[in-house]
Symmetry: C2
């Protein structure tokens, strides 16, 4: 069912510093920061040959990564995003397998303009998984 | 400098359960478990079209992921591995940029039989980064 690893998301406290590290020290191609107020984050995309890394900094007062950064003051690996062909079929298979979907289990339009769901980390070895319709 | 994302490593407490979830619920292709006593882990490889996920369970008494699982009882995202063409050139560039290499900064032969280094999470937004010579 799951296809490509769309991205790995890393929550950071200081986006400028994290971006400079990826650009100047790791020598990667990085985008300009993109504010996504609907998603409560500012994002920098790190383009790798086979996938991308998303550096996320909280934006606004109800950022979904604020609590993570409270628990992990240095930042850290926040979630992985796998692509699926059909998000509703994926959801139904997950529910049938006993996995919990976060929220009301209705796909939302995610940061890339495509339908997404998030799966409960307790059901996946402590890992927050995003599914995105490819 | 960094190239492909070679893998994302997820530390798990119960490898059989995590493997079943990836195989049966997420519908991914998974390998048989591979004991790597020299690295203190048993690994299951999850093959995705563009990269792989490694599910790691502690093996032996001095597993490098034991402390992580003490802090994260459910398991969780442990590290990302980026490929580099020349591990010694990468190390020197990192040191010049002020990033700390774990251990004595001499590449070791990693779990895939290739030279690897690990970078200090404090220097990379709380993320443990492995570099592997491609």
């Amino acid at each position: 069912m799951i296809g490509r690893l769309n991205h790995v998301a890393i929550a950071v406290r200081d986006l400028d510093r994290a971006t400079a590290l990826y650009r100047d020290v790791l020598g990667a191609t990085v985008s300009a920061p993109l504010a996504q107020p609907d998603h409560g984050v500012t994002v920098v995309f790190v383009t790798l040959p086979n996938t991308k890394i998303e550096l996320l900094q909280p934006l606004g007062e109800a950022s979904p990564i604020a609590r993570f950064l409270d628990k992990n003051p240095d930042g850290g690996l926040h979630h992985v995003c796998y692509e699926v062909d059909d998000i509703l079929a994926a959801r139904d298979r997950l529910k049938a397998g006993g996995a919990r979907i976060l929220g009301d289990a209705e796909p939302r339009i995610g940061a890339h303009g495509k339908p997404v769901l998030f799966l409960h980390p307790k059901d996946f070895s402590g890992t927050l998984i995003e599914l995105e319709q490819a």
